[in-house]
């Protein structure tokens, strides 16, 4: 059907229709100049790859959060005033509780579809944060954060942090026993801040914990302040994706100067729009069928009560784990308390982990000294050190996350909680190093296999018996497209310091930062698996047949 169309554009000879829609567009154009924007964007090309939809999942679950969140605000009462529950959930009738908790029970039991909406909202939040992480990993491992996209990496990073903060504030709103326990821990963390902690706690909670102010305050932060910032950031993030054009994987016909894919109208609009409905549909079905956060079974918050096995939402688990792993260091100096047992795991360590994440594009850019634009993605195996660092980061985070459930592990597997905690303490330092080393080795192994495939062809699985009895497997040469794809990556040379003496034998001053940079660059790029050269290939393929 499209065979008569010229490649990359509409048929220029097609007549311009003159109907009501076109006349309406003309009217708009004469006021807003919409045709200029349409010319640029309607047929904008987006490359296709399954991993490019991870960011879409994040965007769509964010929209689901906004829609279901608006519904919930219509019924939720963000007040900590005490009321006597008289709704339809029998076990809690007559119990004293905050209005926030009572109205959450009403949403769950007395407003039709309310529980479904609450659960869709909660599921969408979990999916949102998960997809942000996975999307960020994709960007990281393929090097999509490199120039010119460092700023958009930072915007995405801010969205991730805001998403986690807003998840926690939302979790705290129903004022049930679990959410109050989460807030109590947050209060302990705030109190540990040197110098101002006590004051911040009293200002935040409006007095002693829990007070009657924290839920209404968190409500405004949760439904107004943070979402408004996030909507702004999402908008800028998407504008930059549009303006800078999407990256693409190397392959035949794909270069640093072009973008190959399908046009926004109609294909990408249909696929992306359709995918929104799929994400929304799946969260809706989850919300209807799979119970999440059954606040009625926890009861109202009471600072003197707790249930064993309390767990936060998954994305807060790593903080819980680091709090659990930390040894009990606390100093008293000149009448002041330094609670390192709280400060380090809940503020300093996450600060370091996430600052490294935020700054990585600039760190790598400085080490490699690469000032060029990059629009072709790296295959993770071709950047072993970067890939290794990413896997080490994930491992570090993963150890903390798993240890956030050390009590669950202990009871399920009948292990000693002390032993698990000690294993976690050691693993926090050792596992990332091992993961780094293993990843680098695997990457280099995969590079060797690519090299082998290019030079010797693909293993066909066909075994041939030669006249003298020898068995060989037939290797089939790769097609030119695959051969190109497997050899398209660069292999930069490490940054070398200039000679310590110049041509006249005069000592040159070498800056320390230069020395460091050279060392880091050697670490990044030294001992590469050289990709095959044309000479090697010809040598092997000309003349005699198989090997």
């Amino acid at each position: 059907m499209s065979s008569e169309q010229p490649k990359g554009g509409a048929n220029k000879n097609a007549p311009i229709p003159n109907n009501a829609a076109v006349r309406a567009a003309d009217a708009l154009d004469s006021r807003l100049g919409i045709y200029g924007a349409a010319k640029k964007n309607l047929r904008k090309v987006f490359p296709d790859h399954w991993s490019f939809m991870l960011g879409e999942v994040a965007l769509y679950s964010f929209i689901v959060l906004l829609l279901t969140g608006v519904f919930l605000t219509l019924f939720f009462k963000p007040s900590m005033q005490e009321v006597v529950y008289d709704g339809s959930y029998v076990p809690l009738q007559g119990i004293h509780m905050s209005q926030a908790y009572a109205s959450t029970l009403d949403i769950s039991f007395d407003i039709r579809g309310g529980l479904a909406m609450r659960q869709i909202h909660h599921w969408a939040a979990l999916i949102f944060v998960s997809s942000l992480f996975v999307h960020m990993f994709r960007i990281f491992f393929t090097g999509a954060f490199r120039k010119p996209r460092e700023i958009n990496w930072l915007f995405g990073f801010l969205l991730l942090v805001l998403a986690m903060v807003n998840g926690f504030t939302g979790y705290s709103l129903p004022d049930d026993l679990l959410s109050g326990t989460g807030l109590r821990i947050a209060e302990g963390v705030v109190l540990a801040i040197p110098l101002v902690g006590t004051y911040v706690q009293f200002f935040l909670f409006g007095g002693e914990f829990p007070g009657e102010d924290i839920v209404p305050r968190l409500f405004t932060i949760h439904v107004l302040l943070i979402p408004a910032i996030m909507v702004g950031l999402v908008t800028v993030h998407l504008i930059l994706v549009f303006y800078q054009k999407h990256t693409q994987f190397p392959g035949p016909g794909k270069t640093e100067k072009n973008v190959v894919g399908l046009p926004l109208l109609p294909v990408y609009a249909a696929k992306a729009g359709g995918f929104f409905f799929i994400v929304f549909g799946i969260t809706a079905a989850l919300g209807g069928l799979v119970q999440i956060n059954p606040i009625w079974s926890y009861g109202p918050y009471n600072p003197g009560q707790i249930t064993a096995g309390s767990q936060p939402d998954w994305y807060i688990g790593f903080l819980e784990g680091s709090l659990r792993l930390m040894p009990n260091w606390e100093w008293n100096i000149w009448g002041h308390t330094f609670s390192f047992n709280v400060l380090i795991p809940s503020l300093i360590l996450p600060g370091v982990l996430f600052t490294f994440m935020a700054m990585y594009p600039w760190i790598e850019g400085w080490i490699t000294g690469d000032k060029r634009e990059h629009h072709l993605l790296d295959r993770p195996r071709n950047m072993p050190v970067r890939t290794g660092l990413g896997v080490a980061w994930i491992t570090c985070y993963g150890v903390l996350w798993v240890c956030g459930g050390n009590d669950i592990i202990a009871t399920h597997f009948h292990m000693s909680i002390n032993a698990i905690t000690w294993i976690g303490r050691v693993a926090f330092f050792v596992a990332p190093v091992l993961a780094y080393l293993a990843t680098v080795r695997i990457c280099k192994g995969l590079q060797r296999r690519d090299r082998d495939k290019v030079l010797h062809g693909r293993e066909t699985g066909v075994i041939k018996k030669l006249p003298h009895g020898e068995f060989i497997e037939i290797h089939e040469p790769l097609d030119p497209a695959t051969r190109h794809t497997l050899t398209a990556h660069e292999q930069p040379k490490p940054y070398e310091l200039e000679a310590a003496e110049d041509a006249n034998g005069v000592a040159r001053k070498v800056k320390r930062s230069d020395k460091l940079r050279s060392r880091m660059s050697h670490w990044y790029f030294a001992e590469p698996i050289e990709k095959p050269t044309a000479e090697e290939y010809k040598e092997l393929t000309s003349g005699h047949g198989h090997h």
Partner: protein, 361 residues
């Protein structure tokens, strides 16, 4: 952002073209063979297949419409209190399951229809567009910088330091108003974190029964939660509280204690025994780590475990930390038996309870 009108990306912004790319294709085995030719799909060449795809898309959209009707019916027609047992999902509200399920189907089928449509009937011929450069050309750069410099110079801000400095001062000061306004967010901490509701003679009230506690009520191996008198009467066990309270949670959050009876010979600390009554000791229930209530007692070892972060305290040894992230022992409440034969506090805690804070010392 179409590219015809933009110049190409300058070379210095792009990775070096591998030397091999300049060699004619036949001599470079790795040269880019260019975009592969478009391969038509079944629906591109077989009208019957295309018609079938059309019917499939329409079928999905019809399912979506039916699901929406089902949603409305579920909202009106299903009793909201009805519980059903669905395999794998367990016992859940029938209406909730129906609403979520039908909404899910209605949305999912729209998405599936649109994507099936895109994959079978819309073009899948790839289009190539050029990228445009981000770095401005030198003329634009010089023009912009000149215009800015002219504008800045026209403002005379460089030549009038008095204006510049006072403006910076004014701008720096004005946000202070916003900071000052936050002062009334809460009261000053004062010594509030150092005191609890316990005073000399305050009776301990069993949190579960709302009654004063006699020494005989505390049996070995059990953990009894207690609050100072004046709090429990209002609260009592679930559902029996008489009046709506104000500030109750704050007091309970500071003053909650737990009582255990220990074998006096097991207790390692003389002071601990002296602060208890015939082996009955009272400890703060609020963890010294970040303030969770501690609730897991192991009778054999006298260890008390916080369920939040597993700090473990030895109740037979001044509440010392034996494991976990908490740094300080659990504060002990000194108790005695009053004339009525009930357990009562002899004084407030000797140190602040709960999480550490900067001024704690």
């Amino acid at each position: 952002m179409s590219s015809q009108d933009k110049s190409e990306v300058p070379e210095e912004h792009l990775p070096e073209v591998p030397a091999s790319a300049h060699v004619p294709a036949e001599s470079d085995p790795f040269a880019d063979p260019g975009l592969p030719a478009h391969e038509p799909r079944r629906t591109d060449i077989d009208e019957k297949a295309a018609n079938r795809a059309e019917r499939q898309v329409a079928f999905l959209f019809v399912i979506s419409m039916l699901a929406t009707i089902g949603f409305i019916w579920s909202y009106v027609g299903i009793d909201k209190d009805r519980i059903i047992d669905i395999f794998f999902f367990g016992k859940i509200g029938a209406q909730n399951a129906a609403l979520g399920g039908t909404l899910g189907i209605a949305l999912f089928c729209i998405g599936a229809g649109a994507i099936h449509w895109a994959r079978t009937l819309m073009t899948d011929e790839e289009i190539v567009q050029e990228r445009h450069e981000f770095t401005s050309d030198p003329e634009t750069r010089e023009y912009a910088i000149r215009e800015f410099t002219q504008g800045a110079s026209d403002s005379v801000i460089g030549r009038r330091p008095l204006i510049r400095r006072t403006m910076i001062g004014a701008m720096a000061l004005v946000p202070l108003s916003g900071v000052v306004l936050l002062r009334d967010l809460g009261p000053l901490p004062g010594t509030k974190l150092r005191h609890t509701e316990w005073k000399p003679g305050t009776e301990l009230i069993n949190e579960a029964t709302g009654l004063p506690i006699k020494p005989d009520d505390i049996v070995k191996g059990s953990l009894t939660m207690a609050l100072p008198e004046g709090l429990v009467e209002k609260y009592g066990p679930a559902g029996q509280k008489e009046e709506l309270s104000h500030g109750w949670l704050e007091k309970a959050g500071m003053s909650a204690v737990l009582l255990v009876r220990l074998e006096p010979k097991d207790v390692k600390s003389k002071k601990e025994l002296a602060w208890g009554y015939e082996g009955i000791v009272a400890y703060s229930k609020i963890c010294t780590h970040v303030g969770c209530p501690i609730g897991l007692y192991e009778q054999q070892t006298h260890h008390l475990l916080c369920p939040c972060h597993q700090s473990t305290f030895d109740l037979a040894d001044d509440g010392k930390v034996v494991f976990g992230p908490a740094a300080r022992s659990l504060p002990q409440l000194k108790i005695h038996v009053n004339e009525a034969g009930n357990l009562a506090a002899s004084q407030d805690f000797a140190e602040p309870v709960g999480a550490s804070f900067w001024e704690r010392g």
